[in-house]
Structures are given as C-alpha cells and as structure tokens.
C-alpha cells in the first residue's frame, strides 16, 4: 500500500521558536507550577505528521458565526466593536481558508460558563463564542462587544486585562496557535502574569490590538485591528538536514 501514499512536501519544516513564546514554567502565573513539564522537551524533526494539519470547519461555519451580537433574540449590552485583521505567515503571506475560533467574557467581565464565579451579571443576549474562516487574503472579521476585565485568584487583587481568546490552525499541525488579543493602553498589562509571561517586549506588543478609525463604523461600532502571525517556514530545505 505504501506506493499509494502521497510523498512528503519538498519544502522545509517550520522555524523553531526564537523567544517569541512564553515558557511553560512562569511561577508568577501560579497554575504553571504543577502543570509545566520538568523534563526537557524532545526535539522532533518535522515529518509529514507535523507538516500536514487538519482542514476543519469548511461547510460547517455558519454565516452569522462571526457575529457574536446576533446569536440571541436581543442585542448584548456593552460597547459594540468590530475586530478584524489578517492571518499571515512570517513572510507576510496570507493564511487562507483557515478556521479561527474565539471566545470571551461579556461586557461586565463574566463568561457564560458554569465555572465562572465572578459576581458580575450574565447577559442573556451574549454567549461570547464565534468562529470564521479567513478569506483569500487571510482576512477575518468578528463583530462583538468589548469584554470587561475580571478578577481571578492568581494573587491578591488580581485582574485580567480585557481580552479575546483566539484559536488558529494555520496550514500544519506545527502552526497550531492559541492566543489572546488585548486592547491598547490597558492599565492592567503590567500586573498581569499571563501577558508578562512573554518576556520579549516586542513580541508582547504583538498581542495588543490597534484601534483603527478606518474599521470603525460611524454611529455604530469601534474598530480594532489585530493581525496574527503564525510560524514561518524554515528557509533551509528539509533535504539539507539529512
């Protein structure tokens, strides 16, 4: 049966992390202490297992799945916003037709989740989950309300800055990314260990969206721009690693 199998891509693997990502162990974020592995990671050469990836969501993403303000009978409370941007690889090429999933707290800082004990009101008109596929230029667009900050138990008087969770696949198993988008100028940044776990300030700034007057729609909604850059292909062809 082996001759029926497709041959692996001739291009190289993906570039390894150059310090853009947080460590597993970041003691200031208390939940990492018992969950970070303590044995070194085993370096995995990039094979077909890592260079291919799921293509999921096609034909299953509804037209309104990217509008978090129209999932119930009424409109959610809060500041209506448009979040848009492009998903790119490190060379600026668009990542096309790729599934993005988002989830977030409501405008009061409460998740519609049974585990969220923050005594802020739930909004019957807001679930806080959406998804979409990027278009041919790697663009995506969500309509939602600005999430509120919320308290958590990590340390005394701990509050998470307002954020939207983003889940992306990109073209390969190796490019899978889950991240959080923040809002510009949040005073909680310096107190938040999740945000601060990214040690490189330039990399950290890539988590912060940009207010965008061009995306903003008059009399209707503020616009934020958030571009997401997935891993780069390694410039070295795989054959050279033999």
């Amino acid at each position: 049966m082996r001759e029926d199998r497709i041959s692996p891509p001739q291009s190289g693997g993906y570039r390894r992390d150059a310090g853009d990502h947080p460590p597993y162990l970041y003691p200031e974020y208390g939940s990492t202490r018992l969950r970070a592995p303590d044995r070194p990671l085993v370096i995995l050469p990039h094979t077909l297992s890592e260079l291919t990836g799921p293509v999921y969501g096609h034909g299953r993403v509804g037209e309104l799945d990217n509008d978090l303000t129209r999932q119930h009978s009424g409109e959610p409370l809060g500041e209506r916003i448009i979040v848009t941007g492009r998903v790119l690889d490190g060379d600026g090429r668009p990542v096309r037709n790729s599934l993005i999933e988002v989830w977030q707290a409501n405008a009061a800082g409460r998740y519609a989740h049974h585990g969220d004990r923050h005594p802020a009101p739930l909004d019957p008109n807001f679930t806080g989950a959406g998804r979409c596929l990027t278009d041919g230029e790697g663009r995506y667009r969500f309509i939602t309300v600005k999430p509120g900050a919320y308290p958590w138990k990590n340390h005394d008087n701990a509050w998470r800055p307002a954020h939207i969770h983003f889940s992306l696949f990109g073209p390969a198993f190796a490019t899978r990314l889950v991240t959080q988008m923040y809002f510009p100028g949040d005073p909680l940044f310096e107190h938040d260990p999740v945000f601060q776990s990214v040690s490189d300030p330039k990399a950290r700034q890539r988590l912060v969206s940009r207010f965008d007057l061009e995306t903003t729609e008059p009399e209707w909604a503020l616009g934020y721009n958030f571009n997401i850059v997935l891993r780069d292909r390694d410039a070295t062809p795989m054959e050279d690693h033999k």
């Binding site: 082996r2 029926d4 199998r5 497709i6 041959s7 692996p8 390894r16 853009d20 990502h21 947080p22 460590p23 597993y24 974020y29 208390g30 939940s31 990492t32 202490r33 018992l34 969950r35 970070a36 592995p37 303590d38 990671l41 085993v42 995995l44 050469p45 990039h46 077909l48 297992s49 890592e50 291919t52 799921p54 790119l88 490190g90 999933e101 989830w103 585990g115 989950a129 969770h165 889940s167 198993f173 190796a174 899978r176 990314l177 889950v178 991240t179 959080q180 776990s197 330039k202 990399a203 890539r206 988590l207 571009n227 997401i228 850059v229 997935l230 891993r231 054959e239 690693h241 033999k242």
Partner: protein, 181 residues
C-alpha cells in the same frame, strides 16, 4: 522579512465556550469495523487529575494518509477533560507515515496530540504509539531518539478490551514525553 510570531497564551479555564461547542471526540463512528476507544486521564505534578484540560488529535487514516480537504476521515479530534481529568476518543489506528527527510524511513503508527489547559501558556505536544506494533516501534526514528526506556514508554498506549489507555502526566517522575515541534 520576518514579522515575528504572535506569542501563544493559555486557553484559560473557559475554553469550552469557544472550542467545545460540538463533539469532535469521535473521528469515526463506534460501529466502524476497526473503531476503538482510546481514553485516559490528564494528571498534574501533584498526581491530581486536571479537569480543565483539552486534547486534540491529528492522525493519518488506516492507510497512512493524512487527510486532504475532500476526505471523509478528517483525522482531527478534540475532547475536553471531564471533572475527573478524563478524556475519550473513538478512532482507528493510523498507518505508517514517512519519517524525517522523506520516504526512505518510516514511522510507526502514531497519533499526534496537543494538550491545552489552564496553566499551560502554550500547548504541549506528545504522541500516542501502540503496544501491538513492537516491530514498527523498534524501528521508529522518533522513539529511537529517546534514550531512557522508561521515559520512552510513556508514549506507548496500554491495550485493554476494545481499545487503549493513554494517560498524560504533565510533570514529575512519571512525566509523559513532550516534544519541541
């Protein structure tokens, strides 16, 4: 040009909202002739189950083919842990796939696994290998790259009636092998 990657951030405790709206834990129906259950528990460094974890699978089909967009078998699975840290998938055993560098070497049947959880600032990546593939496992270049046999053994699922068990230990003496991909 290099734009620099967007950093990873934790999925947090409330990812069910966005990521588990549909049940993607069955890659095939249970009545598929070669279907089996594979289940396990995610444990933290204190040996306690991790209830707010999520696993994703990516695997080839029974012939060793990774899914193309038109394929019925997507090769992708996702399951959130329950209150006791347990997960369960229904799938089929993947075929062998080419090893590093192309078609000369072959990898033993394996499932690629991503682990997400509150407290994981980026996903952990591991693999499930199968206990009934001794010959292929012995020739697998990835397994061979792990010197400590006890550590290597954390990647091999345990057979049970009608399926396999694969526990994930995030930390400690029994820690599962995780990969830098």
């Amino acid at each position: 040009m290099n734009l620099g990657s967007t950093p990873s951030q934790t999925v947090g405790p409330f990812f069910h909202l966005g990521l588990l709206r549909e049940d993607w834990s069955r890659l095939v129906d249970l009545d598929h002739p070669s279907a089996f259950r594979i289940h396990g528990t995610v444990y933290d460094g204190a040996g306690d189950p991790v209830p707010d974890a999520m696993l994703e699978l990516w695997q080839a089909d029974a012939t060793g083919r990774y899914a193309h967009p038109e394929d019925v078998f997507t090769g992708f699975g996702r399951c959130g842990a329950d209150g006791a840290g347990r997960f369960e998938f229904v799938t089929v055993k993947p075929g062998s796939v080419p090893g590093p560098g192309g078609g000369e070497s072959w990898q033993a049947p394996h499932i690629n696994v991503s682990v997400f959880a509150r407290g994981l600032l980026k996903r952990l990546i591991t693999r499930v290998y199968f206990p009934d593939e001794d010959e292929a496992n012995a020739a697998d270049p990835v397994l061979a790259s792990i010197e400590d046999p006890d550590f290597r053994a954390t990647l091999i699922a345990h057979a049970e009636d009608g399926g396999y068990i694969f526990d994930v230990h995030l930390q400690g003496d029994r820690q599962t092998v995780f990969f830098d991909v």
